[in-house]
């Protein structure tokens, strides 16, 4: 896919905007933004965004492809939907942020060590194994994402939490082996594989 990354993006020309429109979830809405900034002001994690949504939309128009796709801003989205319900132009901003994040990942430009980036992948992989999320394994894999050393530290840090959960029967040690699962895991996985194939085919080349 790296060839896609050689895409030409002249300033204030529509190449990148068109690329977003074609390849990013709900990307065709970006052009409708009128730069009011209500989304940027509505985000609960707003202050942690290097570029808030409305600015990202402007950057897309300005052709700042790398700055957008390499940014970790989109990964700050908590999916609270404040921006969507307040946007006067009806942009599905939450989805566009998700879409941009995913597209950045696809383009191999997403910041590798961005925790939410990593977690969302862990979540997906964990879920793909048996069709349902295994919270215990997900938790552990998250703790150990940066290697064994950090893992132990993280695990210790959250030990009390884990104990509490187990006491409350809201975490089951047995989940570590087996755990909940679909009956038709293979059908499930075939379905998702197919979905990925279709999505890949639909990606347009802008290089």
């Amino acid at each position: 896919m790296s060839d896609l990354n050689t895409a030409m993006t002249a300033k204030y020309r529509n190449n990148f905007l068109k690329e977003v429109e074609a390849n990013v979830e709900e990307g065709e809405w970006v052009k409708m933004c009128m730069q009011c900034g209500v989304c940027s002001g509505s985000c609960p994690l707003g202050k942690h965004w290097e570029h808030p949504p409305q600015e990202i939309f402007m950057m897309i128009r300005a052709g700042k492809r790398d700055d957008v796709l390499k940014s970790d801003s989109m990964w700050m989205c908590t999916s609270c939907y404040n921006c969507i319900v307040r946007c006067p132009r009806e942009l599905p901003i939450t989805h566009i942020m998700h879409g941009l994040a995913n597209y950045a990942k696809r383009m191999g430009l997403a910041p590798k060590s961005q925790p939410t980036n990593q977690f969302s992948q862990l979540f997906w992989d964990n879920m793909m194994k048996k069709g349902r999320v295994n919270e215990l394994k997900l938790g552990l894999s998250l703790y150990f994402k940066d290697g064994f050393g950090d893992g132990v530290k993280n695990a210790m840090a959250n030990q009390q939490l884990g104990m509490n959960m187990m006491k409350a029967k809201r975490m089951a040690p047995m989940e570590i082996i087996g755990g909940h699962s679909l009956k038709d895991v293979s059908g499930f996985q075939k379905m998702i594989k197919k979905a990925h194939e279709i999505e890949d085919q639909n990606i347009q080349d802008f290089s």
Binding site: M34, V38, S40, G41, G46, K47, H51, R86
Partner: protein
């Protein structure tokens, strides 16, 4: 029974605001028979509730005085107040209108001496002041009201107070048995000038108009600034009556917004620029105005006015649609949260008072429009040939300022004149 002499050469004007009055007077002063139907007990409409006009900062009552004198002097013009058109049948050159007239409970014997008002105790929300104050159950809507005649609030009917009002009147002007009536009369052409109403600010939930006392609307601010208004012209915080010196103005409150009104209401930018003058007037350099906007739409010659305000160090402009209003834990004052999009600056600004520049929506609901007519998505009347002899004037056609309304209404008058002149031509 109210008598109205009208023919197919008569022009019916629906709505007695600045547009309706202008259209009616221009037609009447051209020698046409005109019947003007106004829902309120007085003519003048919403401009009577404004303190000043932009860009001259002059007083609406000044023009109103002239228009009302024109109306008083003109034998061609019949004015029906507390009246609404409920139905219109026929076609261009031959309409029959049904008009419902609500009882005023005061007949034309009234000399406006005010004895009835003095006699009654009952008070009700003063709709003229958007409910910010109270008025007696027997009242003169405002000191320039035309007709200069008192009104008995129907809510007072059957009460002791109502009787007191009747007894107080030396001229048998108070008639508590007055009944609603519906009359029919002919008209050759109709000018539809039902105007606008301020958008319901409570619907703009992030701004908490329904939760925070110190968040008000621009129309309420007009009343507040008016020395004849509920606060005697003092700019105060409704919550505690304390001085409001640091005032925020939120533009496009309900306008240009798919959650509310799709359209731009055009006047709100200029109205806000005007209202920053009120803050300046009231507090001098202690008065601070902050305008939160998306685009400042000070069209054509209004740009001068915008520039003057920009030059005022006490007025700041923030390019931002405010995301939400919260309340400060310690001061209890409203806090505006958002992002200044010019260079991405996050803010949480505390203000004494927040004025929502709410937009204009047509005052007649599209669903309950009593006349066959072509409306656009926003409920404004489209200029269309299939509207026959019905012509929109002023804010019934789009969000317009006073000057453009009067201009548009004058044109509408001509289109009505064209129809009745055709009728005259055929009828001879």
């Amino acid at each position: 029974m109210t008598e109205v002499i009208a023919t197919n050469q008569t022009i019916l004007v629906v709505g007695g605001g600045i547009s309706g009055m202008t259209a009616a007077l221009e037609a009447a002063e051209t020698g046409k028979q005109v019947v003007l139907v106004e829902k309120r007990p007085y003519v003048g409409g919403r401009v009577t509730q404004l303190y000043k006009y932009f860009p001259k900062l002059c007083f609406p009552t000044c023009g109103l005085e002239i228009n009302q004198r024109r109306a008083k002097m003109n034998p061609n013009l019949t004015i029906l107040t507390l009246a609404e058109v409920t139905d219109l049948k026929g076609s261009a050159g031959d309409y029959t209108a049904s008009v419902k007239i609500s009882p005023r409970y005061v007949n034309d014997n009234c000399t406006a001496c005010g004895d009835c008002e003095k006699a009654v105790e009952a008070e009700f929300d003063d709709d003229y002041n958007y409910g910010m104050g109270q008025r007696k159950g027997a009242y003169l809507p405002h000191s320039m009201a035309h007709p200069l005649r008192y009104v008995i609030d129907p809510q007072m009917l059957g009460s002791e107070d109502a009787q007191k009002a009747k007894d107080a009147c030396k001229y048998d002007a108070v008639d508590l048995d007055m009944q609603e009536e519906t009359i029919e009369f002919k008209a050759g052409a109709v000018i539809w000038a039902t105007g606008w109403r301020p958008y319901d600010a409570a619907k703009i939930q992030p701004y908490g108009y329904d939760r925070y006392a110190d968040v008000i609307t621009n129309v309420e601010f007009e009343r507040m600034a008016d020395p004849k208004g509920p606060t005697g012209g003092k700019l105060v915080r409704p919550s505690d009556g304390k001085e409001a010196k640091n005032v925020a103005f939120i533009q496009c409150a309900g306008s240009r917004d798919r959650n509310h009104l799709y359209h731009c209401s055009r006047i709100c930018c200029m109205a806000t620029l005007k209202q920053t003058h009120y803050v300046q007037e009231a507090w001098g350099d202690e008065g601070k105005s902050s305008v939160y906007y998306i685009d400042i739409r000070a069209i054509d010659r209004f740009e001068d006015f915008y520039r003057k305000v920009q030059e005022n160090a006490n007025v700041s402009f923030i390019k931002s649609k405010v995301a939400s209003i919260t309340q400060s834990k310690d001061s209890g004052k409203p806090v505006l949260n958002g992002v200044d999009t010019e260079g991405y600056n996050r803010y949480a600004n505390e203000h004494d008072l927040v004025v929502l520049a709410v937009g204009m929506e047509p005052s007649v609901d599209p669903e309950s429009f009593p006349v066959e007519i072509q409306l656009n998505r926003e409920g404004f009347i489209e200029p269309a040939t299939d509207n026959g002899g019905v012509f929109a004037a002023g804010c019934a056609s789009d969000a317009l300022d006073v000057n453009r309304s009067a201009q548009h209404a004058t044109g509408a008058a001509l289109r009505a004149v064209q129809v009745v002149n055709r009728v005259a031509g055929t009828e001879g």
